[in-house]
């Protein structure tokens, strides 16, 4: 999972370069700005100023939009980090069902906490939504993972390898987001893992 890191300190899985998400229609818009500048230049020096202004203005727009979307991405990453932390702490102290022990209902309860703590950033409609909850205990690994708003799928593997051996819980939250700089953009995947020791007696 830990491959490349972008300027937000987030991970881009599978080694993608950020610019792979660039979209063609924004290049078209850039061309339109240039055309406006060229049309003005035929009227003398003042036209040159317009071209310069247009060029600078476009840079400013790119910068402002980039900052705003970066800030949004930072906020989203912060939210899913917080969600992972809240859910892992909740899971660490959540008692097993007295009859069935750690079961899908237990995992589902943790998943719900993660979703609620993310304040909409892990809702079903969010692009690239990912919530994985796993518990390691006397029954080995039990996992529930939900991707892209689909049904939660149970399994018997960890959310990610951690090299630990004690009873513990893993919560991994994730979503996709887009950094937009007006004339180009790229998608990044935000991922927030959290591992906590399981504190209850099974």
């Amino acid at each position: 999972m830990r491959t490349t890191r972008d300027s937000l300190g987030t991970e881009t899985p599978s080694g993608q370069l950020p610019v792979e998400g660039s979209r063609g229609h924004r290049s078209t818009r850039f061309t339109a700005w240039i055309s406006l500048g060229q049309g003005s230049s035929s009227r003398g020096d003042s036209g040159a100023a317009v071209v310069e202004m247009a060029f600078i203005f476009s840079l400013l727009v790119m910068l402002l939009v980039g900052v705003v979307t970066s800030a949004i991405a930072f906020g989203q990453k912060n939210q899913i980090e917080n969600a992972a932390r809240e859910a892992s702490r909740y899971a660490a102290t959540l008692a097993p069902d007295p009859v069935t022990g750690i079961d899908n209902a237990w995992l589902e309860a943790v998943r719900n906490v993660a979703q609620e703590a993310a304040h909409g950033n892990l809702d079903s409609g969010v692009e690239g939504q990912h919530i994985c909850v796993a518990h390691f205990g006397s029954s080995g690994w039990q996992r529930l993972v939900q991707d892209d708003g689909g049904a939660a799928v149970p399994g018997t593997a960890p959310c990610y390898p951690d090299g630990l051996s004690d009873p513990r819980v893993q919560v991994e939250t994730g979503r996709d987001t887009e950094i937009n700089a007006a004339f180009f953009s790229f998608d990044i995947s935000l991922v927030a893992p959290a591992t906590a020791r399981y504190e209850r007696v099974e």
Binding site: G9, S70, R85, S138, G163, P193, A194, R197, E199
Partner: protein, 586 residues
Amino acid sequence: MRESFRSDRGASIFMLAISLFLLIGASAIAVDIAAIWLDRSTDQKVTDAAAAVGVLVAVETGGQDACESALNYVAVNTPDLNTVDTTDCVQFDKICNPDNPLETEWDFPAGRYEITVVHPVTDTHDLMTSGIVGGTAQPLVDDGKPCQRLAVKMTSTRNSLFAQVLGFSSGRTSVHTVAKRIVGDDKPPLNLIVLDRTGCNTISVNGGGQIVADPVVHPDGYLVGGLIIADSDGSECSGTNGVINVSGLGSVIRADGPAGCGGNPFTFKGFPAEEGCGTIRVLAPNDPGPCTPPACSNSGGGNAPNPTPSPLGSRYTRAPADHRYNCYSNYTTPPLDTLWAAEELTTANQQNIDECEETATRDPYIYDLIEFVGPRTDGKPDSTYEYWKAERNEKCNVDSNITINNQNLVIDCNLQITSGKSVTINNGNVVFDQDVTVQGALKVNPPADKPWTFFRGGKLTKAGTGTLEFNNAMVYMAQGSSLKLSGSGSGGALIWTAPTAGDFADLALWSDSVETHAWSGQSALTLRGIFFMPRGIAAYSGGGSQEQTDAQWLAWNLTVGGGGVLHIAPGDGALPALSDRAELIR
């Protein structure tokens, strides 16, 4: 005009350049600050998880392991850290002494982080007093004791992404978490605990004897493994002696549990179980497994304990019993003059048990009883009592069957019940002042609302073929009292059951005596309840067929020999093993 126009154009470009510079600079700073705050949020997640696991491991297996576990969780939870070097965790003490907590604080550099682990965390540490952020000191109410706290601090240095052009090369954030160990609400059963704080051979089996901690059927229908705890640090051990000692061919110390550990399988109350699938824990330092001094020793053909003992990171103490029966959770001010009865209770025995809910209104049950009965020199506790000899003219050498109903008694002589004769006391409290020897039968049935029998001194002796019954009774034994309950394969019985309700529910014996409490296998044996001998030597030997018991044993130490097989199986009302939880307090 033309000159002026040219001058104005220059000004606007200049202004634009300044504005652009400021805008770009502000954006750069904003992005970098956002990145730093995101780091801070992530770091807080890391320190929370690390401190929580650290404080639990500190209680379980000590400070060094706690440090290692905390750092391992730091590595797992930090995106750009793979490992943290835990070598210096040896700086942390294995055992935290609650009377003299030695605070250790150590820095562990790792990549762009510096991780600091603190254990124990004293009340005056910056992380506890808020001095680190310049705030006013936070109250220490409910913050536990230093040994019950562990702190992790994480300082992160992030190189600026864009703000370097403005001279801001990096930013630093620091977050910390202080976690406190609390008693969880899980109640795993506890079969046996020996409380000798420093001794050797505190659980000793020889001559083919056996101690078996049976599993327990949870009310919800599953099996929970047996648990044996030795609370000695082994400081009195020397040479090859261990806190747990198994010597002699066929001798066994074992804790059984639910199937799955690879032991010999058997069926326990309908559930698949296996030998050695329970837990044996020893406080003494060094790795106790498989059986090495000072934690463990075996010789002369004795088997190593099964399972391999695991470390206990902090003292267990007698606190759970004090808490339940004396509503007593604070040892800093003993509740009353404990007279001749109780040991000095010190903070060394204190556990972080939640305050007794009824502290404001509830009296300490045991100590109230001690005050009520008083020492031997006080005579009768009140006017409802009659002396066995001085007032009732009953024989002290009993040669007939005597039944006394609805009368409280002080037996003020050496009571000897000869073979074939019996004394039965129904619905009355009895205070024994001197020795009691039972060759025939002694049956005591105290009133349901005051279900106790009191030994102010003397030795209670039961002959092999004698019968002794304490039915639904809590037996209190003062300092100087002792027990010797022999058994036989050809008659006699020992029936000793705790009250099922009231102040002393589930408590069969509370002994403040340092004397020996000796038991033997019986042809008929029923033990049910908590047998609490925190200063007493418990001994069990062979003789007669031993039956399954619902008894929990808490003693200073325990020796089993002579082929005796002691199965220990706590009943429903037994004192629970304290489970641990972490609470994040700073």
